[in-house]
Amino acid sequence: MFINNDVTKATTMQERHVVQPHEAGHPIILSTEDLHVFYGKKEALFEGDLQFGSNQITALIGPSGSGKSTYLRSLNRMNDRIATVTGKIMYRGVDINQPGIDVYEMRRRVGMVFQRPNPFAKSIYDNIAFALRLRGTTDKYALDEVVETSLKQAALWDQVKDDLNKSALALSGGQAQRLCIARAIAVKPDILLLDEPASALDPVSTSQLEDTLLDLKQHYTIIIVTHNMQQAARISEYTAFFNQGRVLEYDTTSQIFTNPQVQVTSDYVSGNFG
């Protein structure tokens, strides 16, 4: 187990400690610069500039209300009508937080999976295929192919391959969440944002989902919000610790869990928070 209960003994603690990823073979694909998020007048996020290496899993952890979802939802501009987001969000060298950006196209590159599984009231097949049809893919074989590979990548194919025309609303929670992953990757994104995707699932489904995410890492950059310390420790390379609208610490996951540099992080990961 990564979690070390003695971390509080560490030497001199810092107020804030951020080490951006810089590994060869994992160029930065997404980063935020001077990001601020306001809900009305209330500033919910003000010091949270992170960089994300491609094909890596980054975990966002922190207490409730610390701004993790706020940050994550800003990345694909799901907060557009809800909050005011200032600053830059650089995706492959382009600031996607500017007015001229085609948000719809951008969201197909930066996909998202939510806390509660939200399959559409359609068949399993159509859940995946319909967004593609809307964008002009009408060839049956091409669609079949995407549906199959997406479901396979999401590790759901074997369970549903004979029931593709059944309603997706009949799936179990874990299956539904995989379908949502399959649906998100069917439009061929680079980046997957997941907001507590396992919090509504049982332990077995959760561990299957973690395996799936580890597999998906080959093809996608994954940013996941989680309240589950073990989960963050098991699957992520980098971890950011959020607290009261700021990122207090960002470093490799093993550093965060075994040798945190900030007292609050240390308290949080060792369960002595508050």
């Binding site: 969201r107 996909g111 999976v113 939200n118 009231a121 309603s167 009949a170 998100a184």
Partner: protein
Amino acid sequence: MNSKRQNKIAIGALYGIAGLVVLILLALLGYILASGVPQLSWHFLTAPAKAFLKGGGVGVQLFNSFYLLILAMAISFPIALGAAIYLYEYARDNWVTTTIRTAIEILSSLPSVVVGLFGFLFFVVKLRLGFSILSGAFALTFFNLPLLTRSIEDSLRTINLEQREGGLALGLSRWETVTRVILPAAVPSILTGVILSAGRVFGEAAALIYTAGQSAPALNFADWNPFNISSPLNPMRPAETLAVHIWKINSEGIMPDAKAISSGSSAVLIIAILLFNFTARYVGKRLYKRLTSA
């Protein structure tokens, strides 16, 4: 008195009230059907009415009722759907939407006589549409629009927010999300609302007395050219509906069998409305099942 006893008494009282309501309803239905059903015959349902003689039917009125219903629905449904989508899916909560909502609320609580008089002054007199199907259909639209809008808005509200976010997160526009994700999921409940409001429109009399008129000129059911005066489809002809017919016979009917005709018409009306209600439940359930289960 302990809480268990209290609970029992409360439940007993609630059962009593519910039972009473059901009993009143059954008594009413029973009376109307018992006195009306014996009058029903093929002749009664198809023959035109007679003003002075025995043996008239309600064929024309029945046709008028359905024709008006379809026209009113054809006008009000698209408007209500658009309004509901705008209000629930697009508009932010500000003074504009608050004003619209208040207007809808007031409109939906207007007595239908008032709607009828407004229809008379505006459509019949001002726009010179006369006592006609068209005037009646517009009046019914006014009567129906607020309730239908609210019922569709309620249907949209039953589809949870995650569905919308799911659509947007796939790169769908708001419009695509609404039309491809939300509306299909809301269809069963929207349809139920539409059919139920159809029942109310079908039974409406007060809004029609001064708009669609109180006379039912004989129709030539072989002539389907809407421009001919005796064609059933002509939207400019006066058209007494079944509900108006009942009111008319009871207030000034001079045919010898007025009582029998009124009973028969009431039975037809009640049966039609019951049918609307049962269809609504059945269709809604079936559609929901088809969408959600295997």
